[in-house]
């Protein structure tokens, strides 16, 4: 079985949670991050806690869009805000802009005083990034997202006191900050993607090792869980369309 790009991305995001144990794996919206947390829990990281997208900690691991059969906990917004400060949580966020140290912006584009485009606002991202482990999922790797300087620092990067930014997963590659000065580094390229494609889609100088491995493809069991258990309707393909593969 050959994995699609979407399935490689789900598995790469799931890998971010490896070793986390009994903490909340929070995927913020969309298909890929939620699938990633649930896939990790159903395969190599069974201790993870996962939620239903509102305020329930699920005792079992439902398919995307399904409610839980069992509920093992209650996490209303106030408890979620407490958990962010407590730190027993690894969140996988999105970002409209990200720079080489992992500073991210979801607030607005342009000058904050009168933005060209008002986006969400900082939400809980300042506290998330300062207090707990954060990873990012960027569904379309482009120079518009990977920028020299973000317009409004919502999530703090390593030069501003980030707790831990474990990985940045995109539709092209996996990136991390395993460099002496914590600059972003290319960790692996997804099967079928070249290093040149990634650097061309990145608006700053990326640290590129001499040898860049391929992102691991999901194994047979992971593919079965993704396709038959967690996402039989193929919602992952809408987020990472196979036809638009670059």
């Amino acid at each position: 079985m050959t994995a699609t790009r979407a399935e490689v991305c789900v598995t790469a995001c799931a890998e971010a949670f490896r070793g986390d144990g009994e903490i909340l794996a929070a995927g913020i919206g969309g298909a890929v991050t939620v699938l990633a947390a649930r896939l990790a829990r159903l395969t190599f990281e069974p201790g993870l806690l996962t939620h239903d997208g509102t305020c329930l900690l699920t005792g079992d691991v439902p398919a995307l869009g399904e409610g839980p059969g069992d509920v093992e906990g209650w996490l209303p917004f106030r408890e979620h805000l407490w958990l962010v400060l407590n730190g027993r949580r690894h969140v996988m966020l999105g970002a409209s802009q990200i720079d080489r140290f992992g500073n991210t912006n979801i607030s607005c584009i342009g000058d904050w005083a009168r933005p060209k485009a008002q986006l969400l606002g900082v939400r809980g991202v300042p506290g998330n990034t300062r207090c707990g482990t954060t990873s990012y999922w960027i569904p379309r790797h482009s120079p518009r997202v990977f920028v020299e300087t973000v317009d409004m620092v919502s999530g703090v990067g390593y030069d501003r006191g980030a707790h831990e930014i474990r990985v940045v997963v995109t539709d092209l590659a996996v990136l991390d900050f395993a460099t002496p000065d914590r600059r972003m580094r290319l960790r692996s390229v997804h099967p079928g993607v070249t290093v040149g494609q990634v650097t061309a889609a990145t608006g700053f100088d990326l640290a590129v090792p001499d040898e860049v491995p391929a992102t691991r493809a999901p194994d047979a069991e992971e593919l079965r869980v993704i396709r038959e258990v967690l996402d039989p309707d193929g919602l992952r393909d809408r987020e990472v369309p196979e036809g638009s593969r670059r």
Binding site: F77, R78, L81, V84, G121, P126, R160
Partner: protein, 291 residues
């Protein structure tokens, strides 16, 4: 019950107690359990220059659309199933309102500080981010203990009035939620000088506990000045389990907000009259949408 503790009032009376320039806190979260009947009544009033504290949704959007707002204090404004609040977006891009942008956890600590009558509470949330840059009045404090850590001194979010929508309330002002999440509603009540509660249904005090556990008695009459029954008063936001979000109507709201002529028509059709007229216009709209 002594008449002194009978706090049942009307939407118009609640709005009549609010003055231009006041700071108004609004409960709920995003497009969830917002006191929209009270918000709509503010839109119809002559109030202006309000400072609105909110985990923002269409409450913030509508008040901005009606020019009632001088400043928004919020970590976001969203319709949840539609990520961006269109009116809030427009007024920010036009530069016609002031914005105090805080992290979600900072807002919670600001409410906790006000509820406990503290000047501030220390937190790590916000450190290193541009929240510190765009709010130059924010200060930090250093821990007086061995760690010596520098922390954000989140100021108390005091407010003149808090507006909340709960599932049930009695005429004394005790109120309970029946849905899955209390949001931060009780903290808004404790942070405000006066709190007004709208509810899906007024019940007798003896019946308050009939639908669930005592832990869901979220709001105490000790904090409540007035209570008003507004069935479907959170519409089009969710108010589970009484009703979910009206997604079709929310889409119609967001679509209309994108075009001045369409928005004028939406206002005229739904928001020109009082709350009874609004609910009746929504029912008529629904009959037409789902024949």
């Amino acid at each position: 019950m002594s008449p002194a503790f009978a706090k049942e009032t009307s939407i118009e009376e609640v709005v009549g107690t609010i003055e231009s320039g006041m700071t108004v806190g609004i409960g709920g979260w995003g497009s969830r359990r917002k006191p929209m009947a009270l918000v709509r009544a503010i839109c119809r009033s002559g109030l202006r220059d309000l400072t609105v504290v909110s985990y923002g949704g269409p409450d913030v959007g509508l008040l901005c659309a009606y020019g009632k707002v001088r400043r928004v204090v919020a970590p976001f404004a969203t319709l949840d199933s539609i990520p961006l609040e269109p009116h809030f977006r427009r007024v920010r891009q036009q530069g016609t309102i002031a914005f105090t942008e805080y992290d979600e956890g900072m807002v919670m600590f600001g409410l906790y500080a006000a509820a406990h009558r503290l000047p501030f509470l220390p937190t790590r949330a916000g450190l290193g981010s541009d929240v510190m840059r765009v709010n130059p009045e924010l200060r930090t404090v250093r821990s007086p203990y061995e760690d010596g850590e520098e922390l954000v001194a989140m100021p108390a979010l005091t407010m003149d009035v808090a507006l909340l929508h709960l599932n049930r309330a009695d005429r004394r002002g005790n109120a309970r939620y029946l849905g899955p999440d209390p949001y931060l509603d009780d903290l808004f009540a404790k942070a405000a000088a006066r709190t007004y509660v709208s509810c899906e249904r007024l019940v007798e005090t003896a019946d308050l506990l009939k639908e669930g556990p005592v832990q869901s008695l979220l709001i105490s009459r000790s904090h409540v000045t007035g209570v008003v029954e507004t069935p479907n008063g959170a519409h089009f936001t969710s108010c589970e389990p009484d009703h979910g979000r009206d997604e079709a109507f929310q889409r119609a709201y967001a679509t209309a907000a994108g075009d001045p002529a369409a928005w004028a028509a939406f206002r005229e059709r739904f928001l020109a009259g009082d709350e009874t007229a609004y609910q009746s216009a929504v029912r008529a709209w629904r009959r037409k949408e789902s024949p």
